[in-house]
Symmetry: D3
Subunit: 293 residues, 6 copies
């Protein structure tokens, strides 16, 4: 169950409206790595988790916090839009660059669709979608996904920080930056703990019997581009992070195998096939006639 | 520039067709974590990269390999579809469960749209989309995203392994599993190398001046659910992975701040606002009339 | 702020797993009229609302309840998937209709992507998307949208009720049906209260000066199909629901106006335009040459 | 069958081109509540309807009118785009705010893709999609959806009215406002008539046996937020609009039920599960080995 | 203006219901090359056309016919769904392959969402979308697109023909096949006529001054794969279809140009850049400090 | 297998950055007819092809070239973005039209998401998607689709040519224009060769037994609009391009057939059905009760 309290975790009030910035801020509300994504990602991970206890409590605990972050951003955006201009009533837009500029930089649906309100979209107006989230049931993979989400999110907030000098907006961003710092650290700590407790390990999934894979290429760097500098990295020699092997380097792939013969599906799919010679053709036509009804 | 060679990196021929399995295999071709995703993700990272050298060579090198993995899966799927049944010609499907079952389990567009061929979609028929990929320009964030992609991908291939006993299919999956092992390890090694070389560090982005964030909550676990077991984890006490702080635990958030006043945008957005008292109303109506033309 | 409590509003445990039904149930979790839609729709309406008080409290109060409904359905789906079969390991699917049937009827990503877990998608695997929701800021319009959402939702749950005889599933559906009954009634009551208090009225938006519209067709039924029975309805004669007019009926539209002349945009858009006669052509070519650099 | 007549229902010619406004107008052509949506929504309702007669004639009649509205908007947009600037040929856009402003405010695909023509997208460039429409077969639910669509549409047109002072554009909008007034009224009248004739009633669907739902919560307001003002509304006390009950108010939910035990799916899904103790572990490993082939 | 007549262009009644086939038929209603696509594509081409007369009349005339094809398919699908089973009420689906098969093969939303009605989606449940259509304003390009649409559509209908033996369904498909034959021929005739009249030619757009392109590679086949058989085709030697050149063949590309230097955007985008040496580093840090506020 | 060489097929360096133009150029990278589309379309056609030899070599050869075109455009866009402004730090955007203009015209995600890098999206920010491509297995249909893609692409590049005067950008566009000229010609030549070799013919698919279609309307122009000029075209009289018939013209369709009776699906779908008279009602209620459990 979820309970809502009509308070915000942190103050979310701009010094003044700024409809263009409102649009930019949509990215961290409704974008691929926005707050809706992490709120939903952690929620689905928790609902699907195969064990109660500290890991599930962790995921539930942060999921609910992120819903509150969605709220702070939505409330902030609504205030940034409070003076959103309706547009042009006196002159054609071509002759009024100031207003036109703002119009160009705003999310047009903020006005026409939401009446100066926040929307579940990113900064280019793409609606948030369920395919942004990851919840595989394998916690080491999923916590790595979570760490990535918090990293991408913090990068985006840092970029947004430099796009405004509004103290109210910056104050909220400073708070979000700090929480992203916490959450990055937390998912890395949790991923490490999973490994220490032997619940999961590298390579993920660790309990797939590794002997079954083609182990000759499990730790081999195979180069398909012509830059040779990749051979200098720690991914081309020395022990592998999973502790099970040694990296090796191959500057180009071994000779491949020939393409398999082209497929010959049923003639009634009407694909183009080679023209048969006469004898085959007659036989084929008879056969086709039988099938073609 | 890209060059194509009419060979496959590994044999990709099933023992026998299996139209239902062809659909399942689409997930790792055209799904969120399929081969198109990693091929495109690594390509965009390389094209946008801010330095030549070993990191860019690495990303280019693997990107091209992944295009070849897309190809092996597409060729495999086309063969699995070679005997794809057209459907029902003699009896209503209701009375013929065997054929109907296959129909139910296949990707219908494999036949009607592609004529027994592979498609750029996932196992539920959702088209691949550009919003699956990540290329932020921050390499530590992006390599973490890459590691996650290879983990999710290997989990999916491992699951698919148990869904068939076709030796040809399994042989290809064994190869893909091994390459996912390699690539997981490689991205983790590369992420570590970035940190060792001081090019980027935790928390990402590391050169945002951390003093600017609200540091009082940078390392504080704040619990928004009622499970207390999260306090036992290494994310709630002890040093943080970034080496800059100590985790602390707070079982519930501090009191929040009140919601800001509701916004009052221009009346011409036609949002619903409180009914003014009489005096305000008259004044408002006059003002509205002026604007309403 | 949102708080999560590790309890469910109502019991959500099936008598036994049923992977095919799990897929169907996704519709009311992640479909156009699923619980994510109403949770998000009501949340955005609250965040964007232009007045505090009973209407905002109402919307906040139900929004949080709906998040708990998402949770109950997700938890239910995970349990329905607990015995989800991996697929076929012994025989080709073509020869095993029983297993194939289940495979055909399941959401393939439930297994391969989520490892037997719920997903933010509908019953056909389409990801939930932000464009499902409505939050215009005009409360009479939005509460009508909410009433519709609860009606469509209750219709879908009623249909799902007949698709299972699992007592655990039906027990949850009975609870959801009752809450949909409540919420339908509630939004209709709230819409009526808005009108009684004079905050908004019909036609929406009521404070757009109606004299500005072309009032000659404001209450006229104009028939563009050839069925004449529509003239018998209460929408073709008698007073209009908004209380401002009388319906009239016109069996076909008045003569229209001619199409405007075809547009003639800049030649550099390379659209196809009529071939000019010789003189015009020479003039045009000169002009084109000037612009074509 | 549909027949086209090369006339417009109303004049649709702007006084002068305005490429920025052309983009805004796309919202009511190809947006969630644009004319394509209502044209398609009413068409599918008619095609799927379970009875001929006045209701179907009504839906067919309006559906065809709405196709003509799509046409008027498309033709208007093409004319607004007639002088759409190609862009910048002499100076970098950075130094020419006037042109840049227009560029920023236009739909870039209007030019590059459509050659100064209308497109089936909304004002932010999102393509129209089939998931915008509603046609459930339950007419009371669907007519409520239709009323909502006309309300949202009229709100949007009213907003657009204030964004231009072009008399030609405003003249068309005045016509559309009037038709939206008509159609709002008409769907409300039709919904009332359905109830009066006993074809459908509240709560929708009315012929689901209401005794089967958990009637103890069918009319109970349960508050999941901390605003108490919702208790003052007509949705918290007094008779319910469906005429079957009395509203009651509960300021917080009753204690919930515990989460069900975490699910334990097949090990071959590679989800993370609790570490078994030694004895269980050995048994499990044996069992796993049997399955893991 | 569009007018609807309550008649169908051709009989559209199946001999008996078939819920699985109903789903397949959705492909040619709401798929990429379904009837909604051609109806909308031709409509937008007409609305945007830059000249009245025979070409616009042609496009308008077929557009309206295609709307009637959408209708015939929708009505057919609704009838195929008339006996759509609700699902399983007595036994778990696992033990009832016959019913499960049908469930697996049906569009689940046909029932749960549309109550046994047609939907604006393809055979895999993807909603129709505006991005399927093409209307560039260049008629030779667009008529080529139209010819392709009719070809793909006829291929799909031909495939669907073999998937049923229902005489009523086949009768409708025979009609659609004939109309696709007509429309293929018609668009090819219209494309030829455009060229004969000199309104547009090859290469499209023909009035872009061809001397401006890099004419050395305008007619050169450059091979980026290792199959040499492409050199045997009429695309590798002899005159070109546009009549302006001669094809030549190059078995691999000329040496390319080096990659440009990696970009060095503003540090506040937080991309990863090479580590500067000490002196540069100090200077950079000073500069960063100035910008970082 | 794909191999990457760190060279570009043609120089791709702008004279100076231009963030607004970078966004426009995205159209031909990641739009419906951008380079990702053709690279993927040709690849899937090759992988699914039913015969080796010159046609497959052709498709493979161009597919790989197009991947290199994606690369050139991505690298160009990254350079155009090199000086992308972060936004506004000193003043509210409302008072600074110059900067705001640029912000309005840029792809906001270029900065916030990609850190001044290219993205797999079109010029309005819509992600590239798999549903853009066509690969039916019928080569005459598919080559027609390819010809269309190259035509639309060349039209778009020609438009983009006039939107900049940057010599570096124009130089790349001149190269792309030339390759589009080549590829248009090539697909037309290949389509002609298919017909000459008898592998496929008009109408597509040519080996569907044409006698099975309703041949009375196979070559008949039926006019559904009221413009009569279409009767003057070569599509209304004379021999048909497929060589099998003669066009005829009909100024309006023959009388149609009546709509089939409305469907009567199972009552448990809760659709609205006509109210039965008393006797039928009682019988119906009894029957409903039996089913409604």
């Amino acid at each position: 169950m979820y309970f809502h309290r009509q308070e915000l975790q942190h103050k979310a009030t701009p010094d003044k409206p700024d409809a263009v910035y409102a649009r930019k801020l949509q990215e961290v509300l409704g974008g691929q790595y926005g707050e809706i994504s992490v709120a939903m990602q952690y929620s689905f991970q928790a609902w699907n988790m195969h064990m109660p206890g500290k890991y599930r409590d962790l995921v539930f605990g942060i999921a609910a916090e992120e819903m509150g972050h969605v709220e702070m951003l939505a409330v902030m955006i609504a205030q940034l839009l409070e003076k959103a201009p309706l547009g042009i009533t006196d002159d054609a837009v071509q002759s009024d660059p100031t207003v036109a500029a703002v119009v160009g930089g705003t999310d047009i649906q903020h006005g026409i669709v939401a009446g100066a309100g926040a929307r579940p979209v990113d900064s280019m107006g793409n609606p948030w979608q369920g395919s942004y989230i990851t919840a595989s049931g394998n916690l080491l993979a999923d916590f790595t996904s979570n760490a990535n989400a918090e990293m991408q999110g913090r990068v985006q907030v840092a970029r947004l920080y430099h796009m405004t000098d509004d103290h109210g907006v910056r104050d909220l961003l400073k708070f979000l930056l700090a929480r992203d710092t916490m959450h990055q650290n937390q998912w890395m700590a949790a991923a490490a703990e999973l490994r220490e407790e032997g619940l999961e390990g590298w390579p993920v999934p660790s309990n797939f019997p590794q002997r079954k894979e083609h182990t000759d290429v499990s730790y081999e760097y195979i180069n398909f581009s012509d830059g040779e500098a990749a051979s200098e990295g720690s991914w081309a020699k020395g022990p592998t992070p999973d502790g099970h092997g040694e990296f090796s380097y191959r500057s180009e792939p071994e000779p491949g195998v020939p393409m398999p013969p082209a497929t010959q599906p049923d003639a009634r799919w009407y694909g183009t096939t080679p023209k048969p010679n006469t004898m085959e053709k007659i036989a084929g036509e008879v056969q086709d006639k039988l099938h073609m009804e």
